[in-house]
């Protein structure tokens, strides 16, 4: 398409060497990531890997101990302009328990200059969320939808969501992600949402940031990740031999066979290898394991920073 020929636009979120220490330990260390404009990016990693710390620093709620972060070219600040351009939804879905949906919308309209009331009302009406009951009496799924509708009605350029679907049942999770995808469609909104499970968010995301052991293990579009990894199946090999000719991310062996997840295998593969496509979940799990073993496998973290999110 014609947009592909244009020079790449600056990323929506860019962290360089970002770090945060709590006392003597690092909550996040040497974190360099780029989230392209318009991407829906999954921020993945086990509990305690630094996801919340990163989101809070991007939102301007926590200060960095090292490095820097920029959101649409601006350093996070408690300024009206910055806060208007960034939406942040904390894990506990902050709502006023005794107020109803209509009162929340009224509050939002008064407090935000860029408020889009129609979109919020439309989506909540379509989902049959009652407007006249205190939010404390709504289901968990409905409360999450209200919190999301409020965050979207603010019309931010970047929306940060901390584990938004972790507490939801599968149906409510699917409806929440559908609302999120619909809010992003055609608007250029950039979303960074954390989850400890890829499977929960895989379908809506086109970009992945993986943290493990407080460090970045992966940062790339899902398309680039899938296209630059392959699974090789062949006769059992020792760790020397042909594994040297490409980057092995994860190797599993049976008595007779070796199964290797490798990065960008060249054409020089021996004829004894069968080559398969790798799926995203397998790739992410392999890199997550790498972080846990302290980088015991040679391949190391992977950042494809120059990739762009698709144009919407």
């Amino acid at each position: 398409m014609s947009r592909a020929a244009q020079p790449e636009t600056a990323p929506a979120v860019e962290a360089v060497g970002l770090g945060k220490h709590y006392g003597h330990s690092w909550g996040l260390q040497d974190c360099s990531v780029q989230v392209p404009k318009g991407a829906i990016s999954a921020l993945l990693g086990p509990n305690g890997s630094g996801k919340t710390t990163l989101l809070r620093m991007v939102a301007g709620f926590a200060t960095a101990s090292a490095g820097s972060v920029r959101v649409l070219g601006r350093a996070p600040a408690q300024s009206e302009e910055f806060l208007a351009s960034v939406g942040y939804l904390a894990q506990e879905m902050p709502l006023y328990r005794r107020l109803n949906v209509a009162e929340h919308l009224e509050l939002g309209r008064r407090l935000n200059r860029r408020w889009d009331d129609g979109a919020a009302r439309g989506r909540l009406t379509a989902l049959r969320v009652p407007f006249d009951r205190p939010v404390a009496t709504l289901s968990g799924g409905q409360r999450a939808q209200v919190a999301l509708a409020l965050a979207v009605a603010k019309t931010p350029d970047v929306l940060l969501l901390d584990e938004p679907v972790a507490a939801l049942d599968p149906l409510a999770r699917a409806e929440f992600l559908a609302s999120l995808a619909a809010a992003a469609a055609g608007t250029g909104l950039t979303v960074l949402l954390s989850s400890h499970l890829l499977r929960d968010v895989e379908q809506v995301c086109d970009h992945v940031v993986l943290l493990a052991s407080s460090r970045v293990q992966l940062c790339a579009t899902t398309e680039a990740l899938v296209s630059c990894h392959k699974v090789l199946l062949g006769p059992r090999r020792g760790p020397s031999g042909c594994e040297r000719s490409f980057d092995v991310v994860r190797a599993t062996h049976t008595e007779r066979q070796s199964r290797l997840l490798v990065r960008s295998p060249g054409p020089a593969l021996g004829p004894s290898w069968e080559v398969f496509e790798a799926d995203l979940e397998e790739i992410v799990l392999a890199y997550m394991g790498q972080g846990r073993d302290g980088g015991a496998i040679a391949a190391g973290p992977l950042s494809l920073l120059s990739t762009t999110g698709g144009a919407r």
Partner: protein
């Protein structure tokens, strides 16, 4: 044709276990709807927003599917209006598929009854496709 009506012309669903990329599943479902006659020339496909609001999918995945359908000459995107069906995929008219599908289902039931499991049935179908040669020979 009203837009409310055309919204319901095609409804997508996704299988996460099929191994087929999501965008290709959408392409195949539109093609299948065209072959079965559920969709025809002039019909409007749902907008990207309508699709993702229903099945929680990345908007770019839907765009990719619609672009692929465009490349295949089946639909045409009109700026600001929507994506419209241009033509049916080449092949026999709607109805033929359905008729053949019914007789194939009867055959599958028979194969299962005789003790074949699904992988064995799939292997048999693949081998039959190979043995029957090219489609030109099949017609002779």
């Amino acid at each position: 044709m009203s837009s409310e009506l055309s919204k319901n012309l095609v409804s997508f669903r996704l299988s996460s276990t099929s191994g087929v990329p999501a965008y290709l599943q959408l392409v195949q479902q539109v093609e299948q709807a065209l072959r079965m006659g559920a969709l025809g020339p002039g019909d409007r496909l749902p907008t990207v927003k309508e699709v993702v609001a229903e099945i929680a999918l990345n908007p770019n995945t839907v765009l990719k599917a619609y672009r692929e359908l465009e490349v295949r000459g089946l639909v045409e995107g009109k700026q600001g209006v929507g994506t419209f069906v241009l033509a049916r995929p080449s092949g026999p008219p709607p109805g033929t598929q359905e008729r053949l599908s019914r007789s194939l289902q009867a055959w599958v039931r028979k194969a299962r009854h005789e003790g074949l499991d699904d992988p064995a049935i799939e292997a048999l179908v693949r081998s039959a496709l190979t043995r029957a040669g090219s489609s030109a020979e099949g017609a002779a």
